[in-house]
Amino acid sequence: MDFFKELFSKKKNNPREKIPVKKDYHENLDRIKEILAGTDDVVYREFKVGKQQKMHFATIFIDGLADKDLLNESVLKSLMLLSRMAELDLHSLREKVYEVIRDAALSVSDMREVEEINEAVDNILSGETLLIFDNWEKIVVIATKKWPSRGVTEPSTETVIRGAQEGFTETMRMNTALIRRRIRDPKLCIKQMQIGRRSKTDVAVIYIEEIVNKAVLKMVKERLDYIDIDNIMESGYIEQLIEDEWRSPFPQIQHSQRPDVVAAALYEGRVVILVDNTPFALIAPATITALLQSPEDYYERFFIASAIRLLRYFSLGTALLLPAIYIAITSYHPGMLPTSLALYVAGSRNNVPFPAFIEAFIMEGAIELLREAGIRLPAPIGATIGIVGGLVLGQAAVEAGIVSPLMVIVVALTAMAAYSTPSYSFAIAFRLLRFMLMAAAAFLGLYGVMLALLMILTHLCNLKSFGVPYLSPYAASSTTFNDFKDSFIKVSLRFMQKRPQYLHREDSTRLKKNPIEPAGEEDEDEQK
């Protein structure tokens, strides 16, 4: 906890002094130029307005971040040309310039005013355009944000066969729109803030007012307010700064690139954190069930979804344990296997010069290398590496007698099992723990494996994500029977009337009325 204290040492108020906007146009302009002295991508466009060209006006914006078309059409054109018809120089209007401009001259949909220079500068830097003019102690901010951005594309990290194919992008505004499209509820709250002393990254906390777990929401807000860091590059920064336990390999905040996953989490009462410049949204609290499910589970029929979920738990066990069990059995407990199989295993390992532990380490290390190389290499070469690394090396290693063929099968199965976990960050935690278990198996056989497993389980029982036990609903005092309907199996949607109880929310009803049964005639008779 000291770590947190150090890190979140009381948030200092912005040390910058406040510079009020003066009435004098030139003074204001000079102040802004002074602050932005080193930035050559700022455009200052000064012009004069009115029949006698006596009023000084200036627009200030950053080239590339502001929408020039909008500026030309709706601001400059109307001020420079159209306002000439209005007698702005007239003494009677002189005091009301702002009202006239706001009500009659600027044909833009979104504008506001600020009274402080530094705040105005922040607005320039985020892509807005400033309009300053004579005799007015405020600065008009015109919303002109428009920058090059990627369109909505298919999320590459979380693919589904069935379900929405759109994913978040790097622009937060687009992401909130994607969420809003799925939740047309006035109670959907999007609270925005800026984090990062220098980067001033936009961060939005999103939740549904009547459903959200209030305790979690409070914790999320508190921890976000505590953050005092110079920049936020990606939501991973936020994740690491607000998670409960940093000494854990397990992710305590879920992340997703899919708006439907995020919307479903909001409907369950979780809190979502969106960060600008990254397509990955954070979902808190994360529980083990949430990390082991795919959105498809809810779209497919429940028999299939349940079977696949069981398969996932099984594959998690395989990914974690298989190499360790291989090491333990071959080096400590060969008597466990049926005699014929034991003889075969011994025979296949006959020419292998290494103990099982070294053999397994070589192969598991190789597959980790292959995986890493596969991610980093450009796509066309990636496939080649797969073939060279996987097929050629594996085959050659067996033929050279460095590893046994059984070991290759074990490694391949482990790799496949590890890939079937939907959450990448959860899967890599298990990748790491696998090596720990292999070491335990090498030293103490199956007893070592059990011991390490029990310690991992203790750690998992100990973990909480924003006050919610990580293993919910399997082991949490607030679990009810209802929560098991959506755990290692998933019952039909018809029976999932309640939202997860372990999140303790207010409005807990999900499904109010079951669909009409295709009524047999007997039923109707009974009703009569």
Binding site: M1, D244, E245, Y332, H333, G335, M336, L337, P338, T339, L341, L444, G445, L446, Y447, G448, M450, L451, L454, M455, L457, T458, H459, C461, N462, K464, P469, L471, Y474, A475, A476, S477
Partner: protein
């Protein structure tokens, strides 16, 4: 640490107690019971369980009067400060030695069945380090662990027992009541002492969110343990017969050696029983270890119990290595269970109930 707010449910306490009590007792129970009562061992188990239930209810009546109180606070209130502290210190020593014996028994059995060449010391130290990790994490994680592991242990045990059922011969038990009643009564304490661990109610009651529900904990845990004990006694005797059961050191492990799943991949099923047994003894050790360090911190008056977990480790380790061999260990454990069990499961709760009642009457008189 404030991360865990240290509140458990009465059902979670039942899971903790059940998994703790079953740990060591189950291995030798069939042998002990058959030595004492022959074919009527199951009656003995029932009678002993009834006694344990009564003991549990007495503890419930004591802790109910002091909701949310730790053992030291509770005993200091009833017995006065010096005596209360002394009793807590004795309780701490008792739990420490219990931890040591359990770890030693674990080491002996693992060496005999799983890792023949690994030194006993290594087994004991690794087990202690693992359980220390669990003990350090606090009551809530321990409760969750028990909640997850208890069903796993139970289901696996039942699955493994299923193939034995065709081979059992229930005629070993017939006719019933062959043993004279006096001999039966003499045997009852043996069963009562295999409920060692239930006295932890006194220590953990302060964590339960609704102390008035602890009697449910008692019913539930004693019921589950009795079910376990009776089934294991019946199956062991029915499979091995009376004489064999008394002659094998660990009859329960031997019985699973005889299990053959037809046409399976794995040949020696006793490895699976070792799995679930490692789980249960791990939990037993962790819970008792936790209880010991919690009591120590309470006696000293420290708020953080987990500073005391690791310093206790070498002490437990040396105590564990004191017995020379398995036979001596078994002997000592039996004796220890007799004296310690009588004291903490029967004498202390009864005394406390009596004294607290007396005190209450006094106060009632004063105010009245």
């Amino acid at each position: 640490m404030n991360r865990n707010n240290d509140v458990i449910l009465s059902s979670q306490l039942a899971a903790i107690l059940a998994i703790t009590v079953v740990g060591v007792g189950i291995l030798t129970l069939p042998k002990d019971v058959t030595e004492k009562a022959g074919p009527d061992g199951w009656i003995l188990v029932l009678a002993g369980s009834f006694l344990a239930l009564l003991a549990g209810l007495v503890m419930y009546m004591v802790v109910k009067k002091f909701p949310g109180k730790t053992f030291v606070q509770l005993s200091s209130t009833i017995l006065g400060k010096p005596l209360g502290l002394l009793l807590s210190a004795v309780f701490f020593v008792y739990l420490t030695i219990l931890t040591a014996y359990e770890v030693r028994a674990f080491g002996e059995i693992t060496k005999q069945y799983l890792l023949f060449n690994t030194p006993l010391e290594v087994l004991i130290v690794t087990m202690l380090l693992g359980t220390a990790y669990t003990a350090r994490s606090g009551i809530e994680p321990i409760a969750r662990l028990s909640e997850i592991l208890f069903p796993i242990v139970t289901l696996t045990a039942i699955l493994i027992v299923l193939p034995i059922i065709p081979e059992v011969d229930l005629t070993h038990f017939l006719p019933v009541f062959r043993t004279p009643v006096s001999q039966l009564i003499k045997g009852v304490p043996t069963v009562f002492f295999s409920f060692i661990g239930i006295e932890l109610i006194l220590v953990f009651a302060g964590f339960v969110d609704r102390p008035q529900n602890i009697h449910q904990t008692v019913y539930l845990s004693v019921g589950l343990i009795t079910f376990f004990y009776i089934s294991i006694v019946v199956i062991t005797v029915a499979r091995f017969g009376l004489t064999e059961t008394t002659h094998i050191i660990w009859p329960v492990l031997e019985i699973f050696k005889t299990v053959q799943f037809p046409g399976t991949f794995i040949e020696n099923i006793e490895v699976f029983i070792m799995f679930i047994w490692i789980i249960s003894i791990y939990m037993t050790t962790a819970v008792v270890y936790y209880g010991a360090s919690l009591l120590l911190s309470e006696v000293i008056g420290s708020k953080e119990y987990n500073y005391f977990v690791l310093p206790l480790l070498p002490i437990v380790y040396f105590i564990a290595l004191v017995p020379d061999n398995v036979a001596q260990l078994g002997d000592w454990m039996g004796q220890y269970a007799n004296y310690g069990g009588t004291f903490f499961m029967a004498v202390v709760p009864l005394l406390m109930l009596f004294l607290s009642q007396l005190r209450k009457n006094k106060e009632a008189k004063k105010s009245g």
